[in-house]
């Protein structure tokens, strides 16, 4: 296992400006890192499938929340172990772009769902006859 030392060496060299060989300076991760990520991702995939396929949890809302929470955890696992994201990559710009994106994605998803849910809940109740005569449905 000589990889970690090579890795730290590469990182130590990069800021000094040896940019001629940037193909080697970029973070490739380690075998251990990929295997850790793979095992974690597999576990975090099997649990929600098991929960849903075997109807483990009776309460629907609780089951949905658990599945969503596990997905968020697995996404973080992918970002850390497969995309090798940390605060130092690309001088922090990667992380900045990621945080910006996450904020906007949360706004897009959260606000869409919130607004559309309220639209739906505040719809004027319509009788089947009204729909039939006035909307031609």
């Amino acid at each position: 296992m000589s990889r970690p030392s090579e890795e730290s060496q590469a990182h130590a060299v990069t800021p000094a400006g040896h940019g001629h060989d940037d193909g080697n300076a970029i973070a490739h991760g380690t075998l251990k890192g990929y295997l850790t990520g793979f095992v974690l991702a597999a576990i975090l995939t099997v649990i929600p499938f098991w929960l849903v396929m075997d109807h483990v949890i009776r309460n629907k809302e609780v089951a949905i929340l658990i599945v969503m929470a596990l997905a968020v955890v697995q996404i973080v696992v992918h970002i850390v172990y497969f995309l090798h994201m940390d605060t130092s990559s690309e001088g922090g710009w990667n992380m900045l772009a990621l945080i910006f994106t996450v904020v906007l994605v949360v706004v897009v998803l959260g606000a869409s769902f919130w607004v559309m849910y309220n639209e739906n809940a505040n719809m004027m109740p319509m009788s089947p006859q009204y729909v039939h005569h006035h909307l031609g449905a």
Binding site: L35, F38, P48, I64, M68, Q74, F82, L83, A97, V105
Partner: protein
């Protein structure tokens, strides 16, 4: 010629005004990352669509009726294996082993091809059952999101074949390393999006 400027002994240390912003060394990788983030927005808006329209069945089949979770589990495993084997290719690339890199790339590509194949068969099965994208808002949003992801994977495979030939012909040159690194980000990113798809669309769809 201005000789005083060359008199380094007597004149004070020269000061330079650097007009350029300091920039990271791997500009391509940062740029590609920003492309991926913009891709994130495409998927986020499609996720928002499926979240809003996910229960609008129009008296047609519901998520429970159409989703085959066993097939989904196999599909998910294919994509995860493809992601991790691509990682192994990157490790071999870091060790300058061309043949091993190509071998792992081929394995990753085959797993991804299996994923796309299973997805195409799922789609054709749904359409033949009368649960095509024209059936309901739920199915329209489902086909758009999953289809967009599948198209990304398909283009990723085309890109992988291109780089496979490139590396085979020209070796692990600096350009090819950079390209492979971009593709690896794309590849892992698509697996990440798939986590959202199978959780938020399939599993939550079946639950609600």
């Amino acid at each position: 010629m201005n000789t005083t400027a060359l008199d380094t002994v007597n004149s004070p240390a020269p000061e330079f005004y650097c007009a350029e912003e300091p920039h990271p060394e791997n500009g391509t990788l940062l740029g590609f990352w920003i492309y991926l983030m913009s891709d994130c927005f495409i998927f986020a808006s499609l996720f928002a669509c499926t979240a809003v329209l996910g229960t609008n069945y129009a008296a047609g089949p519901s998520a429970k009726d159409v989703f085959d979770l066993t097939g989904l589990a196999i599909n998910t495993a294919m994509l995860l294996l493809s992601s991790v084997t691509f990682g192994f290719a990157m490790l071999e690339m870091a060790r300058d082993r061309k043949r091993a890199t190509l071998a792992w790339l081929a394995v990753a590509g085959l797993f991804a091809a299996a994923f796309v194949g299973l997805e195409v068969s799922e789609f054709s099965h749904l359409v033949m059952e009368g649960a095509g994208p024209d059936r309901s808002a739920f199915l329209s949003s489902f086909f758009t999101l999953v289809g967009t992801h599948g198209l990304h994977v398909t283009f990723g495979i085309i890109w992988l074949i291109t780089l496979f030939v490139q590396v085979g012909k020209y070796g692990l040159t600096e350009d090819n390393r950079r390209r492979l690194y971009c593709l690896s980000m794309f590849w892992h990113f698509l697996d990440l999006v798939w986590v959202g798809v199978f959780s938020f669309v399939y599993l939550v769809g079946v639950l609600r």
